[in-house]
Amino acid sequence: MHTMPGCTFTSAAARMQEERPIHSPEIFPQMAHITLPDESLPGIVGLFNFRPETAGPLQLLAETLLRGESPLTSGERELIASYVSLLNDTHFCHTSHGSAAMAHLGHDVSLIDDIKNGFQVIEVSPKLRALLNIAAKVQKSGKAVTDEDIAAARAEGAGDKEIHDTVLIAAAFCMFNRYVDGLGTWAPQENEAYREMGQRMAFTGYVRFPIKQDAVEV
């Protein structure tokens, strides 16, 4: 079932249950490093449930970065997020944001694999390619970004805000990826398991989990 924007009647607890993959395994491939209230919730969703005080700002950050005002489309920004997560080897973030990108761009989730394959099928403008190069540098280290990388992006038409947003999205996913992997959360393997999650991320947004008051009810 698709949650439509503006459909606010679903309770926070029910909304979180939606994040449980339909075919979630009976035994999870790995236990997180800390005891989560609901081990069946994958990736960052289980962590949101553990610490609602930090879930609020983390969700608002994702919402602002990926769906807020920007000269880059949400599809482009989700591709940057998915690509950086791939470089950090964080399967959950790579695939869920890949799925959100496919939802924005009107592609099937099977095309998420094209990100690994260097964008052979997905149409990537020269400007976005130059920005993806900057994002890859940020993933290594902030210091790895050179004046030449910036000049190359500007030559393809990237302005200050596009450069800023690219660097901040890449940096933010160096946080999100470390959060998800550093606490040993589990992730569904198949692209298909991320289809509906990506559609909700793309079209409902990121501020959709229980925050403090809701969590008390749960």
Binding site: H33, I34, T35, L47, F50, R51, E53, T54, G56, P57, L58, L60, L61, T64, L65, G68, E69, N88, D89, T90, I134, K137, V138, S141, G142, K143, V145, D147, I150, D160, I163, H164, V167, L168, A170, A171, A172, C174, M175, F176, N177, R178, Y179, V180, D181, G182, L183, G184
Partner: protein, 191 residues
């Protein structure tokens, strides 16, 4: 020189947070809670985590700023200095040493955190929330350090600048100053 034009009176992170206030708001909220909110780890202990990660990311601005904040909170400057050389030799609790080691692993990669290092921290008395918060603080500073250096912001050379900034972080925390930062323009003017 920064990769984009930023206010000259606000070096390092502050200019970026003023340039993009919409994205700054949740980053500031998260930082205020995770470094200053109610917690079984003291603000000084949490500043040590921020410092060790910034140091390993070789981010001059963040390292100097959070060293200054930690030094002020601790009332001495030896702990930070030793920690940057050797976590085991740092004059902090065994639990804190274990958490600092987890933070150093997060700086490398989320996948670098081992079940052994987490089990060791728990054996030293670390709670699940303390481990969670350590990983999130370390992750957050991997964001800050990349943001600050990836945009090539200015890191002032004058140590006095960081003493002042550390003082501001101790007194006001991480929320945007209610009246903004225009008052800092005057300080930079030659008198």
């Amino acid at each position: 020189m920064p990769h984009i034009p930023l206010p000259e009176h606000l070096p390092g992170i502050t200019g970026l947070l003023e340039y993009s206030q919409l994205t700054a708001e949740p980053i500031r909220q998260l930082t205020q809670f995770i470094l200053r909110g109610e917690n079984s780890l003291t603000p000084a202990e949490r500043e040590l985590i921020a410092t060790v990660v910034s140091h390993h990311n070789e981010c001059r601005f963040c390292t100097a700023a959070h060293t200054a904040a930690a030094d002020l909170l601790l009332g001495e400057n030896e702990t930070c200095a030793i920690m940057k050389q050797d976590i085991d030799a740092t004059p902090v609790s065994d639990k804190m040493k274990a958490l600092l080691k987890i933070a150093a692993q997060v700086q490398q990669s989320g996948k670098a955190v081992t079940a052994e290092s987490v089990a060791h921290a728990k054996a030293q008395g670390a709670t699940d929330t303390e481990i969670h918060d350590t990983v999130l603080i370390a992750g957050l500073f991997c964001l800050y350090n990349r943001y600050v250096d990836g945009m090539a912001t200015v890191a002032p050379a004058d140590p006095q600048f960081y003493t002042g900034l550390g003082q501001r972080l101790v007194e006001h925390g991480y929320n945007r100053l209610p009246n903004g930062y225009d008052h800092l323009k005057k300080q930079n003017r030659p008198s």
